[in-house]
């Protein structure tokens, strides 16, 4: 290969390494962006909905206690508002099924909540259930705990996936940074090696050729320059050798 090709190849290697590292880093960073968006869309929304459902459920529980103590108007008002809020959040969770197996968890919440609602939808004030704490602990509170644990299971599932995605993001960030670091180090080493070759195979022969010509001019001795490679420099050296030989022959004639 000629000198031009060798130098071009050297720079292409450097450019190739940096281009590949840069491309990969950009790809990883884009993926990180997409993953963050997915994390927010898929999991955070569900976790938030679950948290609001638990809040609504706790308000419903307080309202039931008000009904049991005979405060019908206040109790019904709170329980209906809380129910509306629960339904709203539940629909968000229902529409946001993104994890394999998550649908079963959502269905469990729906089933448990239906059982719970059946208990408080029936009249309480003015019936034998009013001031009946035994009824509350035996049926209502148990049903409340069932719904709560079903929501908590849904939340744990999403939390787990969120943690996994976040860990993966950390790894992705590492992968976005590392190609750059490796490329910089590799480019540094490569530059050192490239510089050595340029010195040894290009600059060195040029110096030897110059010294050969200088020696011929100063002392008239035969031109000699040892060139290891077969490129433009070896052609130059042999051309110069011929030129010097002819010049010497002409002088002799």
């Amino acid at each position: 290969m000629g000198i031009r090709g060798k130098i071009l190849f050297g720079f292409l290697v450097l450019a190739g390494m940096l281009f590949l590292a840069g491309g990969w880093s950009i790809y990883e960073l884009t993926t990180i962006g997409a993953s963050v968006q997915r994390l927010l869309d898929d999991n955070y929304k569900s976790v938030n909905a679950a948290r609001s459902m638990i809040e609504a459920l706790e308000r419903e529980d307080s309202a039931i206690l008000l009904l049991l103590s005979g405060n019908r108007k206040e109790g019904r008002e709170i329980i209906e508002t809380a129910d509306l809020s629960f339904q709203q959040e539940f629909r968000i969770a229902q529409k946001n099924v993104t994890i394999p197996g998550e649908k079963a968890y959502v269905d469990n919440v729906e089933k448990a909540y239906k059982n719970y609602k059946d208990l408080w939808e029936k009249p309480i004030v003015g019936t034998d259930r009013e001031r009946n704490l035994d009824y509350y602990f035996r049926e209502v509170h148990q049903s409340f705990l069932d719904v709560k644990s079903a929501i908590e299971r849904l939340m744990t599932l999403n939390d787990g996936v969120m943690y996994e995605t976040a860990s993966n993001l950390e790894n992705r960030a590492h992968r976005a940074v590392m190609p750059g670091i490796v490329a910089i180090l590799a480019a540094l080493i490569f530059t050192f090696v490239f510089n050595y070759f340029i010195n040894y195979y290009l600059v060195g022969p040029i110096i030897r050729i110059t010294k050969g010509i200088q020696a011929f001019l100063d002392t008239g001795e035969t031109f000699q320059a040892k060139i290891e490679t077969k490129d433009e420099l070896s052609l130059l050296a042999s051309s110069l050798q011929q030129l010097v030989s002819r010049s010497l022959n002409r002088d002799e004639i």
């Binding site: 290969m1 190849f9 190739g16 790809y27 992968r175 590392m178 190609p179 490569f190 195979y201």
Partner: protein
């Protein structure tokens, strides 16, 4: 010394590494795993660095001894450096120290790992991990020589760096033929074991990777529980057979394949290697019977696998030997230190030097009893001269000294004595697992980072038989 020559021939080794990195990329692509980009980028870097010197540096056939040693050692170091790139790019459990440890452990065919969950790694990276064993196993140098156009004189200069003196005993061939023999035996054994494991019901990926690790006497498994995962006697039998074969001198194996099987038994070194392993197996089986395993069959099965695995410096496991009686553990440590035959892919002191040691001892005792006797000890047809004895014994002392020294450093870093000593011996001998926290079912993740660097130096010293590395470090003052 001519640095450009070093660049050229070390570059060829990088190209060979790049080839395996590209194959690992293909595996990654097939399984659509996350190691594709790390492997591809590493392959490109290795390829560019390997190919570039070829453009500038013309081929030569007048490599000097000094250059030969430098090429050998720098090839190992460069391969270890390139080998860590995919790990570090992949991330996960691989910090810089961990990636270096895993890479050195792979190329030196040690098989120690820092991974707490091997099975979590992508298939492409697992394949690369096993490939480092395979490349390292035969000696990167031999691969370089097989692709070098100037294999004549230059070849032998390079090859000498990896041979203990007695390793030459069975090599009466010329260099080119020797290399062909080594490659043929190595590839043949790998193919035969892969086929054997496939017949035992193992899938192709596992069969190839376990074969890479066995023939290179490495020990990296693709499973957290090593070979115990497969829980299969036929699989264990196949692996045991190939571990024993891989511990023999490859020249002898080639002679055996050509019909002269008796040559294996005729060689005093391989005879000692087989008999020592048989004795070790028997003693260990007797010791663990009743204490760990109620049935004789189990005692022999597990003793055989563990003794052969450590005796050939492979490091696979089918049982947690850290739970065995201390007597059995000491027997296993003896085999960890001893290793198998020179001229094989195994590490350790090597049985050749142990035989040499006994010859020297016998000579000394006879000389004490008969001071005027003229004794010329022989191993097989080879006359053992004073220099050979001196170099051999010096090597053993130096070897144990290095193991002791690195054990001291590890204990200073807070590692317990058993783990420190067995870990150092296992690293130096290219075995892999030791005892204590670095036992056969454990890993090296709990060793502090400076300790991991010490162990990688042990691995390199052991693989390059100490002297080559010393020569490399002192290359400037070489005459």
């Amino acid at each position: 010394m001519r640095p450009h020559i070093i660049f050229r021939y070390s570059g060829l080794i990088l190209l060979f590494n790049a080839l395996f990195l590209f194959i690992s990329c293909l595996i990654s692509l097939i399984y659509m795993d996350q190691a594709l980009m790390p492997l591809f980028y590493s392959a490109v870097i290795a390829c560019l660095f390997g190919a570039f010197p070829l453009l500038f540096v013309p081929s030569v056939d007048d490599i000097t001894n000094k250059e030969g040693f430098t090429i050998v050692v720098s090839s190992w170091l460069l391969s270890c450096l390139v080998g860590l790139v995919p790990y570090i790019l992949y991330g996960g459990e691989f910090t810089l120290t961990n990636a270096w440890f895993e890479s050195v452990s792979g190329f030196t065919t040690t098989g120690s790992s820092i991974l707490t969950n091997v099975e979590a790694l992508p298939k492409g990276l697992l394949f690369w991990r096993s490939s480092t064993h395979w490349i390292g196993g035969i000696g990167i140098i031999i691969f370089a020589l097989s692709v070098m156009p100037s294999m004549g004189r230059a070849g032998m200069v390079l090859y000498r760096a990896e041979m203990s003196p007695l390793g030459m005993e069975n090599f009466h061939y010329r260099t080119k033929k020797t290399l062909k023999i080594l490659v043929t035996v190595y590839v043949g054994l790998t193919l035969a074991e892969t086929l054997g494991l496939l017949l035992c019901g193992m899938n192709l990926f596992d069969a190839v990777t376990q074969s890479f690790a066995t023939i290179a006497t490495g020990g990296f498994s693709t499973k957290n529980n090593s070979i115990a995962y497969f829980a299969s006697l036929p699989v264990e039998m196949v692996i045991m057979a190939f571990m024993v074969l891989s511990g023999l001198h490859f020249g002898l194996l080639f002679t055996a394949v050509r019909g002269k099987i008796a040559e294996i038994w005729r060689s005093p070194v391989s005879r000692y290697y087989i008999l020592a392993m048989g004795a070790g197996l028997l003693i260990t089986a007797l010791d663990i019977h009743g204490t760990r395993y109620p049935a004789w069959t189990d005692s022999f099965r597990y003793a055989a696998f563990q003794v052969i695995s450590l005796g050939t410096t492979t490091g696979f496991a089918t049982a947690d030997s850290t739970l065995w009686p201390i007597f059995s553990q000491l027997i296993l440590i003896f085999f960890t230190l001893q290793g198998a035959c020179a001229g094989s892919t195994s590490g350790g002191i090597k049985t050749d030097r142990v035989v040499l040691f006994w010859k020297g001892l016998t000579k000394r005792i006879t000389k004490t009893r008969h001071p005027h006797a003229v004794i010329a000890p022989k191993i097989g047809d080879l006359a053992v001269d004073g220099e050979m004895l001196e170099v051999g014994l010096l090597y053993i002392v130096l070897y144990i000294g290095v193991v002791f020294g690195s054990s001291l450093i590890l204990t200073a870093l807070g590692v317990d004595a058993m783990s420190a000593f067995s870990g150092s011996a296992a690293a130096m001998g290219g075995v892999g697992p030791g005892f204590g926290i670095v036992g056969s079912m454990g890993n090296y993740s709990l060793i502090p980072d400076p300790g991991k660097w010490v162990l990688t130096i042990d691995m390199l010293l052991g693989r390059l038989e100490i002297f080559a590395l010393i020569m490399f470090v002192t290359a400037r003052s070489w005459k």
